[in-house]
């Protein structure tokens, strides 16, 4: 890492702002903090950041609105912070373009790992073609459409493969039900949640040692799915 990455923190609670600026600053980030959306937009212009950490409950503009506005002008990674038990809010934020989320209370370590993962993904060349995904025993060869667990090749149906590939492209990050349904089945199918459940069940039975305790295909209840990424998986 040549330059210190800069983060824009948008959080209205002063104590929490203080906590995050202190701990993240300690981990070699440059932190700009805003207590409302207008300040944040101002800072975006004056001191462009590498990543946004956004609390959904803001005093002036609705967090969802802010995400949509930001997405119109930038591809910067966005992490959403939210109070617990608001799966609807989280799903909406992700569908509006946020990249990941955390529910309060969360540990610093967790936030750090999410930030790093997102910066890593953003740092990659956008044009580069990804060929092989390897996480633990799971290996996906994208162009050859082959999937292995260890040395054993697993036969997948076209839709199963498409689903797995979509998750692999966002490995480490949650993909909402809506996004998955739209990508794999098409926009007409976004209400057909059960398609997703059934295919996810089939995938788990094919790829996981113990489908009831999945290692790769993780459920984020009420939000979506996440493909677990161990280390730097893409080559």
């Amino acid at each position: 890492m040549k330059t210190r990455p800069s983060l824009l923190l948008i959080e209205d609670d002063p104590q929490f702002r203080l906590l995050l600026t202190t701990t993240l600053g300690h981990h070699n980030f440059i932190i700009h903090a805003a207590e409302n959306a207008l300040d944040a937009l101002e800072l975006m212009r004056s001191k462009p950041p590498n990543l946004l950490v956004l609390d959904l409950g803001l005093p002036d503009i609705d967090g969802q609105d802010l995400i949509r506005r930001l997405r119109k002008r930038t591809d910067l990674p966005i992490i959403v912070l939210s109070a617990r038990n608001q799966e609807m809010d989280i799903t909406q934020a992700l569908d509006s373009g946020a990249d990941d989320y955390l529910t309060k209370p969360f540990s610093n370590a967790e936030l750090l790992s999410r930030i790093n993962a997102l910066l890593r993904r953003a740092g990659k060349a956008p044009g580069g073609v990804l060929e092989i995904f390897q996480s633990g025993e799971l290996k996906i060869e994208l162009t050859k459409r082959r999937v292995f667990v260890g040395t054993r090749e697993i036969h997948l149906t076209p839709l199963e493969f498409k689903l797995l590939a979509t998750l692999a492209h966002n490995a480490g990050f949650v993909v909402t039900h809506r996004q998955l349904l739209e990508k794999v089945w098409g926009a007409a199918f976004i209400e057909h949640n059960h398609y997703l459940r059934i295919y996810m069940g089939q995938l788990r039975h094919k790829l996981e040692n113990d489908p009831a305790r999945p290692r790769y295909l993780l459920t984020e209840p009420g939000v979506g799915y996440r493909l677990h990424e161990e280390g730097n998986a893409w080559t």
Binding site: R84, N85, E87, M88, P105, H155, T157, P158, L159, H192, N193, H194, Y195, R197, I198, M200, G201, R204, H205, D210, P211, A212, R213, P214, L218, T219, E220, P221, G222
Partner: protein, 897 residues
């Protein structure tokens, strides 16, 4: 015998009470038009107005008299209501305007006036009752010939028909009656001077009504009526002031009515007798089988007479009994009757001697009763205006029935004909007799009499020699034939009686069983809508016509129940009439005195603490509603329904009260629980943080310990807060299930993933029989249930022992079980453990706030499922959630591979 009758004392108290809230009624009473009643009334009113009372003239008829008109000067006149009727514009006293104006005192002339059709009440005295009811004092005028009980007498000697009458009860309940008297000579003089009527009209009046003889008789009647009133007041005064010297023994008079034209005269006579004796009086009608078969017109006559008696202040009753004499005697005995008013026996001469008469029976059997027999003077001179008839289907007097009489005779003739050689004529006559008898039982009196006569003719023609001729040669046959005719007639009559008795019995039985069915259904009803539905259904079945119950809505206005209407529900009721019935607690609409032109009848539902609503019933079949027995049945129906509604409302209130107490208790335990469970970790956090900040002497290891303590306690507070918030959301009903199709395996998997830190060292067995079965649930909430259960299991199971999760499809649905090896749950706690804030060991450091399992139960029950705990074989507990079978798991189109 000096003890005052408690009933009378009560009555006195009641009258005083009623008077305090009611307006006072003063009647200016006179013998004829022109004596100066209106003038006297205006004079008195002006005096009061001068004294500062709020006096309004509601309606005054001046007849163009100058003196009277002059008196109107300076009084506030209420505008009249105008109506266009039969082409002309007519004016009428405006009751609503008067109620709205709400003065102290209002003047409304001519108490006996009949209102224009379409007014709220048919009669002005009813308007005045309503004014009095709303606390307004009223001055009015009345001529003696308009009194209900006198108008017939007046009519007889004056030779005029008086249409407008006022019930005596109105006159008697007046607080004050002022007699306006003018000697006949002076009245005649005034009339000649044109002070009463314009000249032309005066001329006519002088020749007819205003003959001197008439005026003298009218004056006497007026004076006598006033004197009777004074006498009655004296009686009251004596009673109120406990003057017992002349104690009036309670006279009780009973008048028996029949379906005769003299019924109304009997009623009036009884009323006069009762009035002069200050007696209570009763009017009854005994319906015998014979009377039940009368035509509708004649039965209506009885109904009318009974209603007249009611208006004149009698208690009325309709009795059903096969024997009129017995029924009257029994009633008289039960009600301590000592005077009996009857019409003269209708049977005369040999028939009375031979068949007896009710009057004779009564006279010979009743003891200690005086009899008043009213002579039959032919047709009554006067008629009250015909009341609305009761259109109904006449019982079918079919020609078919009559023909069947002839047919029976012909049939028997045909049957007997082949055997004529073997049968003697008397046998044949017996066969005919049998036929007549069966005809009587099957078809009634007239067909059987026809059968008897046609049998006689056929017998004479076919069987009695000479055959094929109506002649009868043999004297024996002639006698036999005559005896058969007599026997046939008598037995037909008897059979007919049996038939009617049976019909009446079945009618009564039907009423009883209708009432029984209603009571039975009502007894099982718990909810208001059930009760209303039952009521509407049964009233429809028994009385015909659509009906509905109207209840005051939140804004106080009557409206339809909020439940969807049945197809027999009445929509389009007149809410104005309903409101009147509700406010005045009296029936209104068809068949009543208020707005009788309405098509429906509106009966107030009077509960124990006032009216609770109104029954609106379409009067489709008048006879089914307005016959006295039916009317009583309807009242009983309504009472039953009202009681049931009140019972349901009380039960509802009791339930709400209990819930309120429960909520109160819950709130208290919530507060104590929260204050304990939040303060304890908070104390640690505040203390530890303070030490870290201020105590520079701490070494690194101790700092580390304090930091960990803060972290753990904060985590504990966080968990607790989440649970409290979840519970609060459930309590507030804010939780909406976001149900989707999920595999149980996936939810279990994510719950285990969430708890992976805690369960790191724990072996967790997962056994899923059908891992592809989908359930329709809110995944986030169900995951919460599993997390709570697994968390508990982990807490109570000793280290090294496994926790087992199993999922099974059963006939009832899906069963998810979490089994631990903890201490288990004792029998007595297996229900309580799911209650809020319940902890088996309240002081244990191990337990939380006692919310986890109650949240589980709330979630599972929101899914329509059940949660319970059972002991596990080999030690420990099994928590089982039973989720109901989901409607229809979706089917996925197969994918080509």
């Amino acid at each position: 015998m000096n003890r005052p009758d408690p009933d009378r004392l009560l009555e006195q108290a009641r009258r005083h009470e009623a008077r305090r809230h009611r307006g006072r009624l003063k009647i200016f009473f006179g013998s004829a038009a022109g004596v100066g009643k209106t003038y006297a009334m205006l004079l008195a009113a002006k005096q009061l107005a001068r004294e500062g009372r709020d006096v309004v003239v509601g309606f005054v008829e001046t007849h163009g008299r100058a003196e009277t008109q002059a008196q109107l000067q300076g009084l506030e006149l209420l505008p009249l209501a105008s109506k266009t009727l039969r082409g002309g514009l007519r004016h009428e006293f405006d009751l609503d305007a008067a109620l709205l104006r709400n003065p102290d005192l209002i003047l409304v002339d001519e108490l006996a006036h009949t209102n224009l059709t379409g007014s709220r009440h048919p009669k002005r005295w009813q308007d005045i009752q309503e004014l009095l009811d709303s606390g307004i004092d009223v001055y009015t005028t009345l001529n003696v010939q308009h009194l209900e009980s006198l108008h017939e007498d007046v009519g007889r000697f004056a030779g005029i028909r008086v249409w407008e009458t006022v019930p005596d009860t109105v006159f008697e309940s007046a607080d004050e009656v002022e007699l306006v008297d003018l000697p006949p000579d002076e009245l005649l003089a005034r009339l000649r001077e044109g002070k009463v009527y314009p000249p032309l009209k005066a001329e006519r009046a002088l020749r007819h009504f205003f003959r001197k003889g008439n005026l003298i008789a009218l004056r006497e009647l007026a004076l006598r009526r006033t004197a009777e009133r004074v006498d009655a007041q004296m009686q009251d005064y004596r009673q109120e002031n406990a003057i017992h010297e002349v104690w009036n023994v309670g006279e009780r008079i009973l008048v028996c009515l029949g379906p005769t034209p003299q019924a109304e005269r009997l009623v009036r006579a009884a009323k006069r007798l009762a009035a002069s004796l200050h007696a209570n009086w009763f009017a009854i009608y005994v319906e015998t089988p014979a009377l039940q078969s009368l035509t509708a017109d004649r039965r209506d006559q009885v109904l009318k007479a009974l209603r007249l008696a009611e208006r004149l202040g009698a208690d009325t009753a309709t009795l059903s009994s096969p024997n009129m004499g017995d029924a009257i005697l029994q009633f008289a005995h039960e009600h301590n009757i000592n005077k009996l008013v009857l019409g003269k026996p209708s049977r005369k001469g040999w028939r009375r001697w031979f068949l007896g008469s009710v009057v004779d029976t009564l006279m010979s059997q009743a003891k200690g009763v005086n009899f008043y027999l009213l002579g039959d003077d032919g047709k009554p001179v006067l008629h009250t205006p015909a009341e609305t008839g009761y259109p109904d289907k006449k019982p079918e007097k079919t020609h078919g029935n009559l023909l069947s009489g002839i047919a029976a005779a012909l049939l028997l003739t045909a049957l007997d004909w082949p055997f004529r050689a073997f049968l003697v004529p008397s046998n044949i006559l017996l066969v005919y007799l049998l036929g007549v008898f069966f005809t009587a039982i099957r078809f009634g009196l007239w067909p059987s009499i026809l059968a008897a006569f046609s049998s006689a003719a056929l017998f004479a023609f076919f069987f009695a020699p000479p055959i094929f001729s109506f002649e009868i040669a043999d004297q024996e046959n002639l006698v036999g034939l005559l005896v058969m005719l007599v026997v046939a007639s008598v037995s037909s009559k008897q059979a007919e009686n049996v038939r009617t008795q049976a019909r009446i019995a079945s009618l009564r039985e039907r009423r009883t069983s209708a009432l029984y069915r209603l009571s039975k259904e009502l007894a099982e009803a718990r909810l208001e809508n059930e009760i209303i539905e039952i009521g509407v259904r049964h009233i429809h079945a028994e009385f015909g016509g659509r009906n509905t119950f109207l209840f005051p809505q939140r804004n106080g206005i009557l409206g339809y129940p909020k439940y969807p209407p049945l197809d027999i529900s009445f929509r389009g009721a007149d809410l104005g009439v309903a409101r009147w019935a509700f406010n005045n607690r009296r029936s209104a609409g068809a068949g009543t005195d208020t707005l009788p032109s309405e098509s429906g009848i509106y009966i107030p539902l009077i509960g124990s603490s006032g009216p609770i609503g109104v029954l609106a019933l379409q009067a489709v079949n008048w006879r089914r509603i307005f016959l006295p027995e039916q009317r009583r049945l309807l009242d009983t129906f309504v009472n039953q329904i009202v009681h049931t509604l009140e019972r349901a409302a009380l039960a509802e209130q009791a339930k709400e009260a209990t819930l309120k107490i429960q909520a109160e208790t819950l709130r208290n335990s919530l507060l104590s629980s929260i204050s304990h469970d939040l303060r304890t970790p908070l104390a640690t956090i505040v203390g530890a943080a303070g030490a870290l900040e201020n105590d520079s002497g701490l070494n690194d290891a101790n700092r580390q310990k304090l930091v960990r303590a803060i972290h753990e306690e904060a985590q504990r507070m966080s968990d607790l807060t989440i649970k409290i918030l979840d519970m609060a959301k459930f309590e507030a009903g804010e939780v909406k299930l976001n149900r989707q199709w999920y595999a149980a395996e996936e939810i279990i998997g994510s719950a285990l993933h969430r708890l992976r830190g805690k369960l790191q060292k724990r072996e967790v067995g997962v056994d899923i029989t059908d891992n592809q079965a989908l359930i329709y649930v809110d995944a986030v909430l169900l995951q919460q249930v599993l997390i709570n259960l697994l968390d508990n299991a982990d807490k109570y199971t000793p280290e090294g022992e496994p926790i087992d999760i199993s999922v099974k499809s059963t006939a009832l649905g899906l069963c998810i079980a979490v089994a631990d090896r903890g201490p288990g749950v004792a029998e007595e706690f297996r229900q309580k453990i799911f209650q809020k804030f319940f902890r088996i060991h309240p002081e244990s450091a191990q337990s939380g706030a006692g919310l986890g399992l109650s949240i589980c139960r709330a979630i599972v029950e929101a899914h329509g499922g059940e949660i319970n705990v059972n002991p596990r074989g080999g030690g420990g507990a099994v928590f089982q959630l039973q989720l109901p079978l989901s409607p229809q798991p979706p089917i996925l189109p197969p994918e080509s591979t």
